[in-house]
């Protein structure tokens, strides 16, 4: 067990309870109650979204997300009394996201960039006020949000963008690492300059 890491860079995580942070990373945990038609609609939507990668392309544009997930829960596994057995009256959607930046900015970005996607994902939830304007939507998310009791990230200093750029850099650095020794100095210097130009956005 290691002690809490202290981030090297400035903390960008803001706007939520301290238990929802680990360094730069923020947890959001939301349950919403689904109308009858969401029971069939949401699983179909999830399946289509999984099958058509371009549907998650917009999510990738929100480069501050590390991991996100949605689940529809109609019943919980039974573990014996005093737990009550059986289906919920309504299905419930679980949503969690792990992102960096500010809570408010995250919801703003979701609402403005994923407007139709948000409506598709939450349109079957009771009380969903539409993504825009953002104030009622933020109030809705806050009402349904539960704070984490313990939150952990293996690399709390790193933002998602930083990680994606570091991975891209690694891929682009590989040929120079592999071939650098065999190059003449002038050839190497030219290749290095070209590499630096190519990876400027990763640094």
């Amino acid at each position: 067990m290691s002690a809490q890491a202290s981030p090297a860079g400035p903390i960008t995580a803001t706007g939520t309870h301290p238990r929802n942070y680990d360094g730069q990373v923020i947890a959001i945990t939301v349950f919403s109650t689904i109308k009858w038609w969401g029971r069939a609609f949401l699983p179909a939507l999830f399946q289509i979204t999984r099958r058509v990668p371009r549907l998650t392309a917009t999510l990738r544009q929100l480069s501050f997300i590390h991991f996100a997930r949605w689940s529809v829960i109609g019943r919980l596994p039974y573990n014996g009394p005093p737990q009550r057995e059986g289906r919920f009256r309504y299905p419930h959607m679980y949503f969690e996201s792990n992102f960096n930046g500010g809570w408010e900015e995250y919801i703003d970005a979701f609402s403005h960039i994923l407007t139709s996607g948000m409506t598709a994902f939450w349109g079957s939830s009771y009380g969903f006020p539409k993504p825009l304007p953002t104030a009622p939507f933020k109030a809705y998310i806050q009402a349904n949000e539960t704070e984490a009791d313990h939150y952990y990230c293996a690399y709390p200093d790193a933002t998602s963008t930083m990680i994606q750029r570091a991975l891209e850099l690694e891929t682009k650095l590989a040929p120079l690492r592999r071939n650098g020794e065999r190059m003449a100095p002038d050839e190497f210097a030219a290749a290095y300059r070209s590499f630096l130009t190519d990876v400027q956005h990763c640094l």
Binding site: H66, S71, V199
Partner: protein, 185 residues
Amino acid sequence: MPSPNVSGQAYAFMAMTPITPGEEQPLATYLRGLRERGARPLAKLPRTHIGRFVIVPDFHNDPAWKQPREEHLDLHYLIFTSNFDGDLDSYLDELCEKLAPEAKEIWGRCVGCPASAEGADLKRYLKHNQIDTGLFFAAYGDATVGQVERALRQRERMIDFAISAQGLEPEALQQAFLAQFGGGD
């Protein structure tokens, strides 16, 4: 069609377990106290990217939302989610072994958890309470924790190198680069 719990090589696990009545507050105190004590138990599972424990006391009901009838949880529930590398079985094997002391304090306070709260019994319990993911998004799901950490370290080194190598002649530049990054993949 791959499992909806999987994106690239990353797996999204979720277990939702009922908390034994009377244990809600002690469990919350324990989980919240981890950070105060500087404890990061999930760091003992090096395949874990990001994980969380959340106690859910109830569903939110708002009369303004025109939900025909209110719905409440029968008990408080503990949610554990983890975004980790590789397959579930071997991950849970690791968890049930390396997290045994913490597991007793955590799932040991949940309804139906085996008394030992470790090993194969705990694994069976967690799998029994698994909630499948409908949609899992992983921004870098092909990269393991180790690969992420290595890439981040290398990026830092590259930034330092790019600054320090400014103005070097080609031969010196090549030598400095190879000394730092040579040796291929």
